[in-house]
Symmetry: C2
Subunit: 265 residues, 2 copies
DNA sequence: GGCTTAGCTTGACACAGCTCAACGCGGCTC
DNA sequence: GAGCCGCGTTGAGCTGTGTCAAGCTAAGCC
Protein backbone atom coordinates (compact mmCIF):
# COMPACT_ATOMS: atom_id res chain seq x y z
CA UNK A 1 0.00 0.00 0.00
CA UNK A 2 2.82 2.42 0.77
CA UNK A 3 1.85 5.97 1.65
CA UNK A 4 -1.67 6.62 2.56
CA UNK A 5 -2.92 9.17 0.07
CA UNK A 6 -5.85 10.14 2.21
CA UNK A 7 -3.47 11.79 4.63
CA UNK A 8 -2.18 13.92 1.83
CA UNK A 9 -5.75 14.85 1.06
CA UNK A 10 -6.47 15.89 4.53
CA UNK A 11 -3.37 17.96 4.87
CA UNK A 12 -3.90 19.63 1.56
CA UNK A 13 -6.73 21.65 2.95
CA UNK A 14 -4.36 23.63 5.08
CA UNK A 15 -1.58 23.88 2.55
CA UNK A 16 -1.49 25.17 -0.97
CA UNK A 17 -4.64 24.35 -2.87
CA UNK A 18 -2.46 23.43 -5.83
CA UNK A 19 -1.36 20.34 -3.95
CA UNK A 20 -4.84 19.01 -3.85
CA UNK A 21 -5.21 19.69 -7.51
CA UNK A 22 -2.14 17.72 -8.51
CA UNK A 23 -3.12 14.83 -6.30
CA UNK A 24 -6.39 14.43 -8.13
CA UNK A 25 -4.72 13.26 -11.27
CA UNK A 26 -4.03 9.60 -10.68
CA UNK A 27 -6.88 7.07 -10.92
CA UNK A 28 -5.01 4.87 -8.51
CA UNK A 29 -5.05 7.43 -5.73
CA UNK A 30 -8.65 8.15 -6.56
CA UNK A 31 -9.55 4.56 -5.94
CA UNK A 32 -7.72 4.43 -2.66
CA UNK A 33 -9.19 7.66 -1.46
CA UNK A 34 -12.67 6.32 -1.64
CA UNK A 35 -11.90 3.40 0.60
CA UNK A 36 -12.86 4.02 4.18
CA UNK A 37 -10.28 1.53 5.45
CA UNK A 38 -7.40 3.57 4.17
CA UNK A 39 -8.94 6.88 5.12
CA UNK A 40 -7.22 8.67 7.95
CA UNK A 41 -10.56 10.14 8.96
CA UNK A 42 -12.32 6.86 9.51
CA UNK A 43 -12.05 7.09 13.26
CA UNK A 44 -13.87 10.43 13.23
CA UNK A 45 -16.26 9.98 10.40
CA UNK A 46 -19.39 7.94 9.99
CA UNK A 47 -18.09 4.33 9.93
CA UNK A 48 -16.53 4.63 13.35
CA UNK A 49 -17.67 1.40 14.84
CA UNK A 50 -17.87 -0.85 11.83
CA UNK A 51 -16.24 -4.20 11.22
CA UNK A 52 -13.97 -4.42 8.25
CA UNK A 53 -16.46 -6.27 6.11
CA UNK A 54 -19.23 -3.85 7.01
CA UNK A 55 -16.98 -1.02 6.01
CA UNK A 56 -16.66 -2.64 2.61
CA UNK A 57 -20.39 -2.41 2.24
CA UNK A 58 -20.30 1.25 3.14
CA UNK A 59 -17.47 1.83 0.72
CA UNK A 60 -19.60 0.38 -2.00
CA UNK A 61 -22.26 3.04 -1.73
CA UNK A 62 -19.99 6.02 -1.27
CA UNK A 63 -19.38 8.16 -4.31
CA UNK A 64 -16.34 10.25 -4.74
CA UNK A 65 -17.00 13.71 -6.16
CA UNK A 66 -14.65 15.80 -8.24
CA UNK A 67 -13.01 18.35 -5.93
CA UNK A 68 -14.95 21.53 -5.42
CA UNK A 69 -13.16 24.76 -6.12
CA UNK A 70 -13.44 27.72 -3.80
CA UNK A 71 -16.90 29.18 -4.14
CA UNK A 72 -18.43 26.10 -5.77
CA UNK A 73 -21.60 24.92 -4.12
CA UNK A 74 -22.02 21.33 -3.03
CA UNK A 75 -25.77 21.71 -3.02
CA UNK A 76 -28.17 24.59 -2.99
CA UNK A 77 -31.07 25.41 -0.74
CA UNK A 78 -34.24 23.98 -2.23
CA UNK A 79 -32.65 21.38 -4.50
CA UNK A 80 -33.89 17.81 -3.92
CA UNK A 81 -32.30 16.05 -1.01
CA UNK A 82 -30.41 12.98 -2.08
CA UNK A 83 -27.21 12.57 -0.12
CA UNK A 84 -25.22 13.55 2.89
CA UNK A 85 -21.58 14.46 2.39
CA UNK A 86 -18.51 13.74 4.45
CA UNK A 87 -15.76 16.30 4.07
CA UNK A 88 -12.45 14.67 3.20
CA UNK A 89 -10.32 17.74 2.81
CA UNK A 90 -10.87 21.46 2.73
CA UNK A 91 -13.84 23.14 4.32
CA UNK A 92 -17.40 24.19 3.67
CA UNK A 93 -19.84 26.77 4.90
CA UNK A 94 -23.56 26.33 5.13
CA UNK A 95 -25.89 29.24 4.51
CA UNK A 96 -29.62 29.64 4.66
CA UNK A 97 -31.76 32.39 3.21
CA UNK A 98 -35.19 33.05 4.53
CA UNK A 99 -37.81 34.98 2.68
CA UNK A 100 -35.44 36.29 0.04
CA UNK A 101 -33.46 38.16 2.64
CA UNK A 102 -29.77 38.13 3.25
CA UNK A 103 -27.88 34.95 3.97
CA UNK A 104 -27.23 33.57 7.40
CA UNK A 105 -24.14 31.43 7.81
CA UNK A 106 -25.10 28.57 10.07
CA UNK A 107 -22.16 26.20 10.02
CA UNK A 108 -18.64 25.44 8.97
CA UNK A 109 -17.69 21.87 8.08
CA UNK A 110 -14.16 20.56 8.50
CA UNK A 111 -12.75 17.18 7.37
CA UNK A 112 -14.65 14.17 8.75
CA UNK A 113 -17.77 16.23 9.42
CA UNK A 114 -21.07 15.54 7.73
CA UNK A 115 -22.96 18.13 5.72
CA UNK A 116 -26.56 17.81 4.69
CA UNK A 117 -27.90 16.04 7.77
CA UNK A 118 -30.60 18.65 8.23
CA UNK A 119 -32.12 17.66 4.92
CA UNK A 120 -32.78 14.09 6.07
CA UNK A 121 -36.44 13.28 5.95
CA UNK A 122 -37.14 16.32 3.83
CA UNK A 123 -37.69 16.72 0.13
CA UNK A 124 -35.02 19.37 -0.30
CA UNK A 125 -31.90 20.78 1.31
CA UNK A 126 -32.71 23.55 3.77
CA UNK A 127 -29.46 25.38 3.11
CA UNK A 128 -26.76 26.01 0.56
CA UNK A 129 -23.32 24.55 1.19
CA UNK A 130 -20.34 26.23 -0.45
CA UNK A 131 -16.64 25.37 -0.54
CA UNK A 132 -14.36 27.84 1.22
CA UNK A 133 -11.30 26.44 -0.55
CA UNK A 134 -10.54 23.46 -2.75
CA UNK A 135 -12.53 20.75 -1.05
CA UNK A 136 -13.14 17.06 -1.56
CA UNK A 137 -16.12 15.20 -0.22
CA UNK A 138 -17.51 11.70 -0.08
CA UNK A 139 -21.07 11.61 -1.29
CA UNK A 140 -23.27 9.18 0.60
CA UNK A 141 -26.64 8.68 -1.11
CA UNK A 142 -29.09 8.67 1.72
CA UNK A 143 -31.49 6.04 0.42
CA UNK A 144 -28.63 3.59 0.18
CA UNK A 145 -27.23 4.62 3.53
CA UNK A 146 -30.61 4.04 5.08
CA UNK A 147 -30.98 0.67 3.43
CA UNK A 148 -27.56 -0.31 4.66
CA UNK A 149 -28.21 0.94 8.15
CA UNK A 150 -31.15 -1.43 8.33
CA UNK A 151 -28.72 -4.30 8.68
CA UNK A 152 -25.92 -2.44 10.45
CA UNK A 153 -26.98 -1.18 13.86
CA UNK A 154 -23.56 0.36 14.41
CA UNK A 155 -23.95 2.49 11.35
CA UNK A 156 -27.41 3.55 12.37
CA UNK A 157 -26.12 4.48 15.79
CA UNK A 158 -23.38 6.54 14.28
CA UNK A 159 -25.86 8.37 12.09
CA UNK A 160 -28.02 9.19 15.09
CA UNK A 161 -24.94 10.35 16.93
CA UNK A 162 -23.96 12.65 14.10
CA UNK A 163 -27.40 14.18 13.96
CA UNK A 164 -27.78 14.70 17.66
CA UNK A 165 -24.28 16.11 17.88
CA UNK A 166 -25.24 18.71 15.34
CA UNK A 167 -28.28 19.52 17.45
CA UNK A 168 -26.14 19.98 20.51
CA UNK A 169 -23.73 22.16 18.58
CA UNK A 170 -26.69 24.25 17.51
CA UNK A 171 -27.72 24.66 21.13
CA UNK A 172 -24.25 25.81 22.02
CA UNK A 173 -24.42 28.27 19.17
CA UNK A 174 -27.75 29.58 20.38
CA UNK A 175 -26.24 30.12 23.76
CA UNK A 176 -23.33 31.94 22.21
CA UNK A 177 -25.60 34.17 20.17
CA UNK A 178 -27.92 35.08 22.96
CA UNK A 179 -25.66 35.38 25.97
CA UNK A 180 -22.09 36.03 24.92
CA UNK A 181 -20.33 39.30 24.24
CA UNK A 182 -18.42 39.85 21.03
CA UNK A 183 -15.15 39.04 22.83
CA UNK A 184 -16.52 35.79 24.16
CA UNK A 185 -17.89 34.85 20.77
CA UNK A 186 -14.58 35.26 19.04
CA UNK A 187 -12.68 33.54 21.82
CA UNK A 188 -15.14 30.66 21.62
CA UNK A 189 -14.78 30.53 17.87
CA UNK A 190 -11.00 30.25 18.09
CA UNK A 191 -10.91 27.73 20.91
CA UNK A 192 -13.49 25.67 19.06
CA UNK A 193 -11.47 25.71 15.85
CA UNK A 194 -8.33 24.93 17.79
CA UNK A 195 -10.01 21.94 19.36
CA UNK A 196 -11.32 20.65 16.07
CA UNK A 197 -7.87 20.89 14.51
CA UNK A 198 -6.30 19.14 17.45
CA UNK A 199 -8.74 16.25 17.17
CA UNK A 200 -7.77 15.87 13.55
CA UNK A 201 -4.10 15.67 14.36
CA UNK A 202 -3.14 19.22 13.49
CA UNK A 203 -1.53 21.86 15.56
CA UNK A 204 -4.16 23.41 17.81
CA UNK A 205 -2.06 26.57 17.97
CA UNK A 206 -1.27 27.40 14.42
CA UNK A 207 -3.69 27.23 11.53
CA UNK A 208 -5.06 29.06 8.58
CA UNK A 209 -8.63 30.34 8.47
CA UNK A 210 -10.39 29.34 5.29
CA UNK A 211 -13.19 31.82 5.88
CA UNK A 212 -13.23 35.58 5.52
CA UNK A 213 -13.85 38.06 8.33
CA UNK A 214 -17.25 38.62 6.82
CA UNK A 215 -18.02 34.91 7.13
CA UNK A 216 -16.88 34.89 10.73
CA UNK A 217 -18.97 37.94 11.50
CA UNK A 218 -22.02 36.51 9.80
CA UNK A 219 -21.62 33.24 11.67
CA UNK A 220 -21.08 34.85 15.06
CA UNK A 221 -23.73 37.51 14.64
CA UNK A 222 -21.25 40.38 14.57
CA UNK A 223 -20.36 43.14 12.16
CA UNK A 224 -17.14 42.65 10.21
CA UNK A 225 -15.70 45.73 11.85
CA UNK A 226 -16.30 44.28 15.29
CA UNK A 227 -14.54 41.06 14.34
CA UNK A 228 -11.60 43.02 13.09
CA UNK A 229 -11.40 45.28 16.12
CA UNK A 230 -11.57 42.48 18.63
CA UNK A 231 -9.01 40.43 16.76
CA UNK A 232 -6.77 43.45 17.00
CA UNK A 233 -7.39 43.71 20.70
CA UNK A 234 -6.71 40.01 21.25
CA UNK A 235 -3.45 40.58 19.48
CA UNK A 236 -2.38 43.49 21.67
CA UNK A 237 -3.41 41.44 24.69
CA UNK A 238 -1.03 38.72 23.57
CA UNK A 239 -3.76 36.09 23.20
CA UNK A 240 -3.24 35.42 19.51
CA UNK A 241 -1.06 36.54 16.65
CA UNK A 242 -3.12 37.07 13.54
CA UNK A 243 -1.78 37.96 10.16
CA UNK A 244 -4.46 37.93 7.52
CA UNK A 245 -5.91 34.47 7.76
CA UNK A 246 -2.91 32.96 9.46
CA UNK A 247 -3.61 32.38 13.13
CA UNK A 248 -1.24 31.61 15.98
CA UNK A 249 -2.79 31.01 19.32
CA UNK A 250 -0.35 32.30 21.92
CA UNK A 251 -2.32 31.78 25.10
CA UNK A 252 -4.99 29.14 24.74
CA UNK A 253 -5.65 29.09 28.48
CA UNK A 254 -6.46 32.77 28.54
CA UNK A 255 -8.57 32.45 25.42
CA UNK A 256 -10.63 29.71 27.02
CA UNK A 257 -10.93 31.91 30.08
CA UNK A 258 -12.35 34.73 27.98
CA UNK A 259 -14.69 32.36 26.14
CA UNK A 260 -16.17 30.97 29.32
CA UNK A 261 -16.23 33.87 31.74
CA UNK A 262 -19.61 34.13 33.31
CA UNK A 263 -22.05 36.91 33.91
CA UNK A 264 -20.24 39.64 32.08
CA UNK A 265 -23.15 40.98 30.14
CA UNK B 1 -65.75 4.22 22.75
CA UNK B 2 -67.69 7.41 23.35
CA UNK B 3 -65.69 10.55 23.96
CA UNK B 4 -62.09 10.47 23.12
CA UNK B 5 -60.29 11.14 26.36
CA UNK B 6 -57.13 12.18 24.63
CA UNK B 7 -58.89 15.28 23.41
CA UNK B 8 -59.70 16.15 26.96
CA UNK B 9 -56.08 15.71 27.79
CA UNK B 10 -54.95 17.98 25.10
CA UNK B 11 -57.40 20.67 26.01
CA UNK B 12 -56.61 20.45 29.64
CA UNK B 13 -53.30 22.12 29.10
CA UNK B 14 -55.06 25.34 28.33
CA UNK B 15 -57.75 25.02 30.95
CA UNK B 16 -57.65 24.51 34.65
CA UNK B 17 -54.86 22.23 35.71
CA UNK B 18 -57.25 20.55 38.09
CA UNK B 19 -59.03 19.01 35.14
CA UNK B 20 -55.98 17.11 34.17
CA UNK B 21 -55.60 15.89 37.69
CA UNK B 22 -59.09 14.50 37.97
CA UNK B 23 -58.88 12.81 34.61
CA UNK B 24 -55.87 10.80 35.73
CA UNK B 25 -57.84 8.75 38.16
CA UNK B 26 -59.54 6.15 36.01
CA UNK B 27 -57.51 3.19 34.77
CA UNK B 28 -59.79 2.93 31.79
CA UNK B 29 -58.99 6.40 30.53
CA UNK B 30 -55.40 5.74 31.31
CA UNK B 31 -55.44 2.76 29.00
CA UNK B 32 -57.11 4.65 26.22
CA UNK B 33 -54.79 7.54 26.49
CA UNK B 34 -51.79 5.43 25.76
CA UNK B 35 -53.23 4.16 22.55
CA UNK B 36 -51.97 6.05 19.55
CA UNK B 37 -55.05 5.16 17.50
CA UNK B 38 -57.33 7.10 19.79
CA UNK B 39 -54.93 9.95 20.28
CA UNK B 40 -55.92 13.20 18.66
CA UNK B 41 -52.28 14.02 18.16
CA UNK B 42 -51.44 10.99 16.11
CA UNK B 43 -51.43 12.91 12.86
CA UNK B 44 -48.80 15.29 14.21
CA UNK B 45 -46.75 12.99 16.35
CA UNK B 46 -44.32 10.23 15.57
CA UNK B 47 -46.53 7.48 14.13
CA UNK B 48 -47.76 9.69 11.34
CA UNK B 49 -47.43 7.29 8.48
CA UNK B 50 -48.03 3.98 10.17
CA UNK B 51 -50.53 1.29 9.34
CA UNK B 52 -52.96 0.38 12.06
CA UNK B 53 -51.21 -2.84 12.98
CA UNK B 54 -47.83 -1.12 13.06
CA UNK B 55 -49.30 1.44 15.38
CA UNK B 56 -50.22 -1.37 17.71
CA UNK B 57 -46.60 -2.30 17.90
CA UNK B 58 -45.65 1.23 18.71
CA UNK B 59 -48.36 1.39 21.34
CA UNK B 60 -46.84 -1.61 22.97
CA UNK B 61 -43.55 0.08 23.74
CA UNK B 62 -44.90 3.45 24.81
CA UNK B 63 -45.08 4.10 28.52
CA UNK B 64 -47.44 6.50 30.06
CA UNK B 65 -45.95 8.65 32.77
CA UNK B 66 -47.70 10.17 35.73
CA UNK B 67 -48.49 13.81 34.91
CA UNK B 68 -45.73 16.24 35.71
CA UNK B 69 -46.62 19.17 37.90
CA UNK B 70 -45.44 22.65 37.09
CA UNK B 71 -41.72 22.83 37.75
CA UNK B 72 -41.16 19.08 37.75
CA UNK B 73 -38.35 17.97 35.53
CA UNK B 74 -38.88 15.25 32.95
CA UNK B 75 -35.17 14.57 32.85
CA UNK B 76 -32.08 16.42 33.91
CA UNK B 77 -28.96 17.33 32.06
CA UNK B 78 -26.37 14.61 32.53
CA UNK B 79 -28.73 11.80 33.52
CA UNK B 80 -28.48 8.67 31.35
CA UNK B 81 -30.34 8.88 28.09
CA UNK B 82 -33.05 6.26 27.84
CA UNK B 83 -36.11 7.64 26.13
CA UNK B 84 -37.59 10.34 24.01
CA UNK B 85 -40.87 11.86 25.11
CA UNK B 86 -43.90 12.99 23.18
CA UNK B 87 -45.88 15.74 24.84
CA UNK B 88 -49.56 14.85 25.15
CA UNK B 89 -50.78 17.88 27.02
CA UNK B 90 -49.24 20.86 28.70
CA UNK B 91 -45.86 22.23 27.77
CA UNK B 92 -42.17 21.89 28.55
CA UNK B 93 -39.08 23.99 28.38
CA UNK B 94 -35.60 22.72 27.73
CA UNK B 95 -32.61 24.34 29.39
CA UNK B 96 -28.91 23.73 29.17
CA UNK B 97 -26.21 24.86 31.54
CA UNK B 98 -22.65 25.09 30.40
CA UNK B 99 -19.72 25.22 32.75
CA UNK B 100 -21.82 25.80 35.83
CA UNK B 101 -23.06 29.09 34.48
CA UNK B 102 -26.58 30.33 34.19
CA UNK B 103 -29.19 28.44 32.26
CA UNK B 104 -29.99 28.95 28.63
CA UNK B 105 -33.50 28.13 27.54
CA UNK B 106 -33.24 26.41 24.19
CA UNK B 107 -36.69 25.15 23.39
CA UNK B 108 -40.35 24.97 24.26
CA UNK B 109 -42.29 21.79 23.55
CA UNK B 110 -46.02 21.77 22.87
CA UNK B 111 -48.33 18.77 22.50
CA UNK B 112 -47.24 16.29 19.82
CA UNK B 113 -43.67 17.52 19.88
CA UNK B 114 -40.77 15.30 20.85
CA UNK B 115 -38.35 16.13 23.64
CA UNK B 116 -35.03 14.44 24.16
CA UNK B 117 -34.07 13.92 20.54
CA UNK B 118 -30.75 15.63 21.07
CA UNK B 119 -29.75 12.91 23.49
CA UNK B 120 -30.02 10.20 20.87
CA UNK B 121 -26.74 8.44 20.36
CA UNK B 122 -25.36 9.94 23.54
CA UNK B 123 -24.90 8.51 26.98
CA UNK B 124 -26.79 11.31 28.73
CA UNK B 125 -29.31 14.04 28.13
CA UNK B 126 -27.64 17.29 27.09
CA UNK B 127 -30.30 19.44 28.72
CA UNK B 128 -32.86 19.58 31.47
CA UNK B 129 -36.52 19.53 30.50
CA UNK B 130 -39.03 21.04 32.91
CA UNK B 131 -42.82 21.24 32.90
CA UNK B 132 -44.25 24.75 32.58
CA UNK B 133 -47.65 23.55 33.79
CA UNK B 134 -49.31 20.23 34.50
CA UNK B 135 -48.04 18.15 31.63
CA UNK B 136 -48.48 14.60 30.41
CA UNK B 137 -46.05 12.82 28.17
CA UNK B 138 -45.67 9.51 26.42
CA UNK B 139 -42.33 7.94 27.20
CA UNK B 140 -40.78 6.12 24.28
CA UNK B 141 -37.78 4.02 25.35
CA UNK B 142 -35.26 4.61 22.65
CA UNK B 143 -33.75 1.14 22.46
CA UNK B 144 -37.17 -0.30 21.80
CA UNK B 145 -38.06 2.43 19.37
CA UNK B 146 -34.89 1.73 17.48
CA UNK B 147 -35.53 -2.00 17.46
CA UNK B 148 -39.01 -1.38 16.16
CA UNK B 149 -37.85 1.07 13.54
CA UNK B 150 -35.65 -1.66 12.13
CA UNK B 151 -38.74 -3.32 10.73
CA UNK B 152 -40.82 -0.20 10.17
CA UNK B 153 -39.25 2.09 7.59
CA UNK B 154 -42.09 4.57 8.00
CA UNK B 155 -41.33 4.94 11.65
CA UNK B 156 -37.66 5.40 10.96
CA UNK B 157 -38.43 8.04 8.38
CA UNK B 158 -40.62 9.87 10.84
CA UNK B 159 -37.86 9.80 13.44
CA UNK B 160 -35.39 11.25 10.97
CA UNK B 161 -37.91 13.88 10.01
CA UNK B 162 -38.41 14.87 13.62
CA UNK B 163 -34.70 15.19 14.19
CA UNK B 164 -33.96 17.17 11.08
CA UNK B 165 -36.94 19.41 11.74
CA UNK B 166 -35.46 20.27 15.10
CA UNK B 167 -32.20 21.07 13.36
CA UNK B 168 -33.94 23.40 10.96
CA UNK B 169 -35.79 25.06 13.80
CA UNK B 170 -32.45 25.58 15.50
CA UNK B 171 -31.12 27.25 12.38
CA UNK B 172 -34.09 29.57 12.29
CA UNK B 173 -33.45 30.36 15.93
CA UNK B 174 -29.82 31.12 15.22
CA UNK B 175 -30.92 33.48 12.51
CA UNK B 176 -33.32 35.14 14.90
CA UNK B 177 -30.68 35.55 17.57
CA UNK B 178 -28.02 36.93 15.32
CA UNK B 179 -29.94 39.14 12.91
CA UNK B 180 -33.25 40.19 14.38
CA UNK B 181 -34.15 43.15 16.56
CA UNK B 182 -36.02 42.72 19.80
CA UNK B 183 -39.28 43.67 18.08
CA UNK B 184 -38.77 41.12 15.35
CA UNK B 185 -37.88 38.46 17.88
CA UNK B 186 -41.05 38.91 19.85
CA UNK B 187 -43.18 39.18 16.74
CA UNK B 188 -41.59 35.97 15.48
CA UNK B 189 -42.20 34.30 18.81
CA UNK B 190 -45.90 35.14 18.77
CA UNK B 191 -46.50 34.26 15.14
CA UNK B 192 -44.68 31.00 15.70
CA UNK B 193 -46.79 30.15 18.74
CA UNK B 194 -49.93 31.17 16.92
CA UNK B 195 -49.05 28.86 14.07
CA UNK B 196 -48.31 25.95 16.35
CA UNK B 197 -51.64 26.38 18.12
CA UNK B 198 -53.45 26.60 14.82
CA UNK B 199 -51.91 23.36 13.64
CA UNK B 200 -53.14 21.71 16.79
CA UNK B 201 -56.67 22.86 16.25
CA UNK B 202 -56.69 25.75 18.67
CA UNK B 203 -57.41 29.36 18.05
CA UNK B 204 -54.34 30.97 16.55
CA UNK B 205 -55.52 34.30 17.93
CA UNK B 206 -56.23 33.66 21.54
CA UNK B 207 -54.11 31.60 23.87
CA UNK B 208 -52.45 31.50 27.22
CA UNK B 209 -48.67 31.60 27.61
CA UNK B 210 -47.42 28.88 29.89
CA UNK B 211 -44.01 30.52 30.24
CA UNK B 212 -42.98 33.57 32.22
CA UNK B 213 -41.57 36.76 30.76
CA UNK B 214 -38.22 35.66 32.08
CA UNK B 215 -38.47 32.43 30.11
CA UNK B 216 -39.38 34.32 26.96
CA UNK B 217 -36.50 36.72 27.46
CA UNK B 218 -34.06 33.93 28.12
CA UNK B 219 -35.24 32.06 25.05
CA UNK B 220 -35.12 35.09 22.76
CA UNK B 221 -31.88 36.48 24.13
CA UNK B 222 -33.51 39.57 25.63
CA UNK B 223 -33.74 41.12 29.08
CA UNK B 224 -37.08 40.69 30.84
CA UNK B 225 -37.55 44.43 30.82
CA UNK B 226 -37.19 44.54 27.07
CA UNK B 227 -39.80 41.82 26.64
CA UNK B 228 -42.17 43.71 28.85
CA UNK B 229 -41.60 47.05 27.16
CA UNK B 230 -42.03 45.72 23.64
CA UNK B 231 -45.15 43.81 24.60
CA UNK B 232 -46.48 47.10 25.88
CA UNK B 233 -45.62 48.80 22.63
CA UNK B 234 -47.24 46.04 20.56
CA UNK B 235 -50.32 46.61 22.65
CA UNK B 236 -50.46 50.36 22.03
CA UNK B 237 -49.84 49.66 18.34
CA UNK B 238 -52.91 47.46 18.32
CA UNK B 239 -51.03 44.33 17.30
CA UNK B 240 -51.89 42.27 20.35
CA UNK B 241 -53.84 42.53 23.57
CA UNK B 242 -51.88 41.08 26.44
CA UNK B 243 -53.12 40.68 29.96
CA UNK B 244 -50.69 38.79 32.11
CA UNK B 245 -50.20 35.54 30.28
CA UNK B 246 -53.40 35.80 28.29
CA UNK B 247 -52.69 36.76 24.71
CA UNK B 248 -55.03 37.97 21.98
CA UNK B 249 -53.52 38.52 18.61
CA UNK B 250 -55.36 41.41 17.02
CA UNK B 251 -53.46 41.86 13.80
CA UNK B 252 -51.61 38.73 12.77
CA UNK B 253 -50.79 40.15 9.35
CA UNK B 254 -49.02 43.12 10.85
CA UNK B 255 -47.23 40.92 13.35
CA UNK B 256 -45.90 38.73 10.55
CA UNK B 257 -44.86 41.89 8.78
CA UNK B 258 -42.84 43.00 11.78
CA UNK B 259 -41.33 39.54 12.21
CA UNK B 260 -40.10 39.35 8.65
CA UNK B 261 -39.12 42.89 7.76
CA UNK B 262 -35.69 42.89 6.21
CA UNK B 263 -32.52 44.85 6.73
CA UNK B 264 -33.57 46.87 9.71
CA UNK B 265 -30.52 46.35 11.81
C1' DG C 1 5.44 49.01 -13.05
C1' DG C 2 0.49 50.75 -12.19
C1' DC C 3 -4.45 49.71 -11.89
C1' DT C 4 -8.31 47.34 -9.92
C1' DT C 5 -10.65 44.94 -6.65
C1' DA C 6 -11.74 42.30 -2.58
C1' DG C 7 -10.77 41.99 1.89
C1' DC C 8 -9.36 44.07 6.11
C1' DT C 9 -8.59 47.83 9.53
C1' DT C 10 -9.48 52.05 11.98
C1' DG C 11 -12.15 56.08 13.58
C1' DA C 12 -16.34 58.74 14.84
C1' DC C 13 -20.82 58.53 16.15
C1' DA C 14 -25.58 56.84 17.19
C1' DC C 15 -28.77 53.98 19.23
C1' DA C 16 -30.89 49.46 20.69
C1' DG C 17 -31.12 47.14 24.40
C1' DC C 18 -28.93 46.22 29.03
C1' DT C 19 -28.56 47.42 33.95
C1' DC C 20 -30.07 49.27 38.01
C1' DA C 21 -33.74 50.79 40.70
C1' DA C 22 -38.32 51.59 42.08
C1' DC C 23 -42.93 50.35 42.07
C1' DG C 24 -47.43 47.68 41.37
C1' DC C 25 -50.13 43.66 41.70
C1' DG C 26 -51.98 39.15 42.91
C1' DG C 27 -51.59 35.12 45.61
C1' DC C 28 -49.96 32.95 49.64
C1' DT C 29 -49.10 32.20 54.65
C1' DC C 30 -49.61 33.41 59.23
C1' DG D 1 -55.68 42.01 57.93
C1' DA D 2 -50.48 42.38 57.37
C1' DG D 3 -46.47 40.87 55.45
C1' DC D 4 -44.06 38.43 52.00
C1' DC D 5 -42.78 36.77 47.54
C1' DG D 6 -42.82 35.99 42.66
C1' DC D 7 -43.81 38.21 38.71
C1' DG D 8 -44.49 42.02 35.74
C1' DT D 9 -44.09 47.01 34.51
C1' DT D 10 -41.92 51.47 34.04
C1' DG D 11 -38.18 54.97 34.18
C1' DA D 12 -33.36 56.78 33.72
C1' DG D 13 -28.99 56.33 32.25
C1' DC D 14 -25.05 53.77 30.28
C1' DT D 15 -22.54 50.97 27.01
C1' DG D 16 -21.45 47.52 23.54
C1' DT D 17 -21.91 47.06 19.10
C1' DG D 18 -23.78 48.50 14.63
C1' DT D 19 -23.38 51.94 10.94
C1' DC D 20 -21.12 54.97 8.01
C1' DA D 21 -17.06 56.57 6.04
C1' DA D 22 -12.36 56.55 4.91
C1' DG D 23 -8.07 54.44 4.26
C1' DC D 24 -5.01 50.49 3.94
C1' DT D 25 -3.02 46.04 2.06
C1' DA D 26 -2.29 42.23 -0.93
C1' DA D 27 -3.29 39.75 -4.95
C1' DG D 28 -4.26 39.52 -9.56
C1' DC D 29 -3.97 41.38 -14.07
C1' DC D 30 -2.83 44.25 -17.90
Amino acid sequence: MGDNPSILWLESSFMEDSMADTATGSPRTLLNETRCQTCSLSSLCLPLALELQDMDQLDAIIRRRAPLKKGDSLFRQGTPFTSVFAVRSGSLKQMTTEGGGEEQLTNFYLPSELAGLDGIGEASYPGTVVALETTTVCEIPFDRLEALSETLPELRGQLYRSMSKEMRDDRRMMRLLSRKTADQRLATFFTNLSDRFRRRGYSPFSFRLSMSRADIGNYLGLAVETVSRILGRFQTQGLVAVSGREVNILDLEALIEVAEQEGCR
